[in-house]
């Protein structure tokens, strides 16, 4: 098991990958990707039982992860590559013609690690619930994880799935909300307030916990706590507080880097703030 410090070093490299990927094609979504880097690293390098070298679509006897807010594909691609699903050099093809690393995650080109397309928001929780139900039918005791944007919770389908999962005791599911409070048009509070997230999810019958998402030790211990809440008749929701743009000072505290790539100068500035730990691709 990697130490917290090793995980942090991996997260630093993942943040460099994210910035270099989006800068290379002058498109993509760095803000949310940077904010979720610690979560992805903890999940893939510490928390999940999975088999990067031999990707199987059905994922039998493996933990599964679904990214519902597909636009933060850069962080997922980096972590998939760094954990061995495909060659790190393939990150260089992100968003380019004939790539397997589509703008939003897809299965069409056969990229290992991806089990469903996402991008159009609000669909991933339903898919995760379906995968969790299949695990129960197959007597497969591994877990299903999913990640959702906070703005994404404005989509109605999320609440259909929320209602279903608790009513049917889908308790092999850990869902996480990236609670960074920002979306394309501004602060979530101003675009369409979510009210009390904890109250909403509790009212929908979920076991709810909160977690600091940009502190590696908190993420690892938080996800382990979430695991201990599974198997008790309720789906588990982790409200994960993050900072959009985390790790790059000029990208933090604003929604403006949701879907904007840094220019050459900004990239240089940003990379100067993040240690190259595993070697750039």
């Amino acid at each position: 098991m990697p130490s917290i410090e090793e995980l942090e070093r991996t997260a630093s490299q993942v943040r460099r990958d994210i910035l270099r990927m989006v800068a290379a094609v002058n498109s993509g979504h760095p803000g949310g990707s940077l904010g979720c880097a610690d979560f992805f690293v903890a999940l893939y390098f510490e928390i999940m039982e999975h088999n990067p070298k031999q990707f199987q679509m059905d994922g039998v006897d493996e933990d599964l992860f679904f990214l519902s807010n597909g636009h933060i594909s850069p962080v997922w691609y980096s972590v998939l590559a760094r954990s061995g699903y495909f060659e790190v050099n393939e990150l260089d093809t992100f968003r380019k013609l004939n790539t397997r690393l589509q703008g939003h995650p897809a299965t069409e080109e056969g990229l290992p690690g991806i089990r469903v397309a996402s991008g159009s928001l609000g669909q991933g929780l339903s898919v995760a619930v379906g995968a969790a139900l299949a695990k129960k039918l197959n007597n497969d005791n591994r877990m299903v994880y999913s990640l959702h944007g906070d703005g994404e919770l404005q989509e109605g389908q999320i609440w259909e799935a929320a209602m279903y999962a608790s009513a049917n005791k889908v308790d092999n599911l850990i869902s996480v909300i990236d609670y960074n409070g920002r979306q394309i048009d501004g602060d979530v509070e101003n675009v369409l307030s979510l009210g009390s997230l904890r109250d909403k999810w509790e009212a929908f019958g979920w076991e709810v916990m909160e977690m600091e998402g940009n502190h590696m030790e908190s993420v690892v211990s938080g996800l382990k706590s979430a695991q201990s809440l599974t198997g008790k008749g309720k789906p588990v929701m982790v409200i994960m507080t993050t900072e959009m743009g985390q790790g790059v000072d000029f990208m933090m505290g604003t929604h403006k880097w949701h879907g904007v790539a840094p220019n050459t100068e900004q990239l240089e500035n940003a990379l100067g703030q993040l240690q190259e730990t595993l070697g750039d691709y």
């Binding site: 069409e108 159009s120 379906g130 299949a134 039918l137």
Partner: protein, 324 residues
């Protein structure tokens, strides 16, 4: 003409229910989901026999499509059931992204398609579903014609690895196809070999085409009648072979003219073998309340409409100079 008799009157949705039950017994990976229309979709028998493999999702069709996509990841073969309207237009983006683009092995089973839903009116009478679904890459689109064929199609699609849209209906209609037929996806069924005009029909219009064929024969016109149960992939070879012989064609369907079977056939003929063509379909309008038979008549998709269309096609052929 071959003797096609209405051996019985049954609804195609009951053929789906019977096929699903058989699949439940023969294939342990088959699971079923329904959005609060279990009785209407005739899924009760499956639910009773296999309660652990049946998922009642409530009135939440978007969630149903997503759950179905997720179930495939664990190797299941999900059959979703609701009305055609709620199986397609209501959940188009969920089907597009989570099922079609993701290549998921979901069988979208849709009842109460078209005008023959009847008295509930236009809110529920979807006439655009074939078009919506055939436009999606990877999607197979099937519209069987009677109880036996719907049952056979239901069983056959479980063997196809990929998304399928299976469309059927509410009313009791003549049962005239073989009880033990083999169903081959994408393979046209020749009902009557003729020489004068090709009539290509799908779904409930196949029986109307047979009735029209009898009337045409009595008038001295020998039509070739083809049952196209699979709109996508279209059996291009069978259609072209027939039209090369008859040199004019009629399509008949319970769907909008835009986007339906006729649209697919017209595209094929325009590219490969232009010929005079008439379409029996609903012409860019919504339906309304009424009995199925009243609606078929009012909206021009009944037996006399097929006969008239065949005569128009023949007249156009007669006035069209031979193509080089």
């Amino acid at each position: 003409m071959e003797q096609y008799e209405a051996k019985d009157m049954k609804d195609t949705r009951s053929g789906f229910g019977a096929g699903l039950l058989e699949l439940g017994e023969s294939n342990p990976n088959v699971v079923a989901l329904c959005a609060d229309l279990t009785g209407s979709l005739k899924m009760n028998a499956f639910q009773d026999a296999f309660p652990d493999r049946f998922f009642q999702v409530g009135i939440a069709e978007a969630n149903m499509m997503g759950i179905a996509a997720g179930l495939t990841i664990g190797g299941k073969i999900p059959f979703t059931g609701t009305f055609a309207n709620f199986s397609t237009g209501r959940v188009y983006d969920q089907i597009r992204q989570s099922i079609a683009y993701s290549g998921k092995n979901v069988k979208i089973c849709a009842s109460h398609a078209g005008l023959t839903l009847g008295e509930d009116g236009a809110t529920h009478q979807i006439l655009e579903d074939i078009g919506l679904m055939k436009m999606l890459p990877h999607m197979v689109v099937i519209n069987p014609c009677d109880y036996n064929q719907t049952k056979a199609a239901t069983i056959a699609i479980a063997e196809h690895n990929g998304p399928v849209y299976l469309r059927f209906g509410r009313p009791k209609v003549p049962v005239f196809t073989d009880e033990n037929q083999s169903f081959e996806i994408g393979k046209a069924v020749m009902l009557h070999e003729g020489t004068d005009v090709t009539i290509i029909a799908t779904g409930h219009l196949v029986w109307k085409a047979i009735e029209a064929g009898k009337a045409l024969l009595a008038k001295g016109i020998n039509p070739e009648i083809i049952n196209i149960h699979t709109i996508k992939p279209l059996d291009e070879e069978a259609i072209l072979r027939s039209v090369q012989k008859t040199r004019c064609v009629v399509t008949a369907e319970e769907h909008q003219m835009h986007g339906g079977l006729g649209d697919s056939v017209a595209q094929l003929l325009a590219r490969k073998n232009p010929a005079p063509m008439e379409m029996v379909a609903v012409n860019d309008t919504f339906g309304e309340s009424g009995t199925p038979e009243e609606l078929m008549t009012k909206y021009g998709i009944d037996t006399p409409d097929v006969i008239a269309a065949a005569e128009r096609a023949l007249a156009r052929k007669a006035s069209t100079p031979e193509m080089a």
